[in-house]
């Protein structure tokens, strides 16, 4: 039997669906999709992703683990929630897509260098450090994520905007020295670590 066929033999079995149901946020809803495609037609980034939510759900049910977890589709979510409110089956599609993105990121299967994946990580790191998000540091980190040279270029490109915001009183250059932070940073960090620990325990994931 050829490779294609070996792959096909395992297809349309429950294994991957079960994995998603157990480990992905709201993953138990995937079985309820009725394949109408309203989500696909409602997504503002529709022309840009490789797989619509409809397809992702079908791929999960068809057992296409690798293709799902390496897809960039979930990272195209703008969190506009259009799919959620329009889904006739009331699937929390946005949450499932976020959950799948997170799961593929945790497993290290998500596409490398995917820009939204990168900023999501930077955002969270910024948040965990102080309990609040520091817009300037977050922006700078974003510009420099691809290395120093590219960062200068990125920052220069948006320089006008940045200066405008500073002038308008909506970006504080002094934030680089410290800026807003929660008093109980330590408590927040411990709280997040604990939550992660509980979640890992529940979903059978190793930290």
């Amino acid at each position: 039997m050829s490779d294609m066929n070996t792959q096909a033999v395992a297809r349309y079995r429950n294994n991957f669906l079960k994995e998603v149901e157990e480990r992905v946020e709201d993953g138990h809803w995937v079985r309820m999709c009725m394949q109408c495609g309203v989500c696909a037609g409602s997504c503002p980034l529709g022309p840009h992703w490789e797989h619509s939510p409809q397809k992702i759900f079908m791929m999960i049910r068809a057992g296409k683990r690798e293709e799902v977890l390496t897809s960039d589709a979930m990272w195209m979510c703008t969190s506009c929630y259009n799919c959620i409110v329009r889904c006739p089956r009331k699937l929390p599609i946005t949450h499932i897509m976020h959950g799948l993105a997170h799961y593929s990121h945790r497993l290290g299967l998500a596409p490398k260098g995917q820009p939204t994946r990168e900023i999501a990580k930077l955002f969270w790191d910024s948040l965990v450090k102080t309990g609040r998000v520091n817009e300037l540091k977050f922006s700078l980190a974003m510009y420099f994520k691809d290395g120093f040279g590219q960062g200068i270029k990125n920052a220069m490109a948006m320089q006008g905007v940045g200066l405008g915001l500073v002038k308008a009183g909506r970006l504080n250059p002094m934030e680089i020295l410290g800026g807003h932070a929660c008093k109980d940073k330590g408590g927040i960090q411990k709280m997040i670590a604990k939550a992660q620990e509980i979640e890992n325990r529940k979903k059978g994931l190793t930290a």
């Binding site: 946020e25 503002p44 980034l45 990272w75 195209m76 703008t78 969190s79 506009c80 929630y81 259009n82 409110v85 329009r86 946005t94 976020h98 959950g99 993105a101 997170h102 990121h105 820009p115 939204t116 994946r117 990168e118 900023i119 999501a120 990580k121 955002f123 969270w124 790191d125 948040l127 609040r132 998000v133 817009e135 922006s139 974003m142 948006m158 006008g160 905007v161 405008g164 915001l165 308008a168 009183g169 909506r170 970006l171 504080n172 934030e175 807003h180 929660c182 008093k183 109980d184 408590g187 927040i188 411990k190 709280m191 997040i192 604990k194 939550a195 992660q196 509980i198 979640e199 529940k202």
Partner: protein, 299 residues
Amino acid sequence: MAKKQYAFYPGCSSQKKASADNFLRSIDKVCEKLDVQLNEIPDWNCCGASIGYGEGGELPRLVLSARNLALAEQNMPGQDMVSVCPACWLASRETAERMHESQSLLAEANEALKEAGLNLKGEVKARHFVEVLIEDLGWDAMKAPVVKPLEGLKVAGYVGCQTNRPFGIAGESFENPKYLDKMVETMGAEPLTRYEQKVTCCGGALAFSEPEKAQKQIRDIVESAYDHGADMIVTPCQLCQANVEIYQSEINKKQGTKLNLPVVYYSQLMTVAYGGSAKEAGLDGQLIKAEKLEGIASK
């Protein structure tokens, strides 16, 4: 009438000298005129926003909001928690509802909250400031302080996503919410009710990571407002305001367009209509000056 009291969760973008600094100034003025007191929750933290999911898991994200709710419960007992930021509201409301519905989830959250010395009972409600205006105060109360009706101002009401979905304002449709137009009308301006891009996504956090895709959205949102003869766009959302205002110059640079349409908050319209100055309305914070509105304010 007694002052209405709320536990206030301002959120990261409304901090001093942050991207929505001016928004908060106008909110302060509106509250003053409407006899509403917002009591800032001590040591509140970030809600995780819509982009937190990549690195942060489900429970870590939920406990971020749970901490804010617990702080509100503890420090402002009996008060609803109010946000002015749709992302903050969405995260807080989702958490509040899920904690209220599931005892086991609440127990897990409390196990984590204990690390920060807190406990959540799960009784506090998470609300949006617009809900306070519409549901607690009402249209008549909103209209009463109007001293300078914004006559002749054509305004495209851009509701965006998260104020409208998945929760939205009670009684409004997801596809065509009408409250923002009604607020514009109540302030004496002319709402462009046939504006098609009312609930279009501005790209959200992807304005950073996928600038081209987001800017296509933004261009549609602005151009449609121009098509309807808008003097300005009004929005209830910080991220919408920032994306739609900030990137107009970028789009002009890259695509040769001449977009230059002011984008203001509903509270800025209200402040001016209530007789506030341009500064009180935070109009000095606009990248694209809302000249007509400033004109009315200075009359």
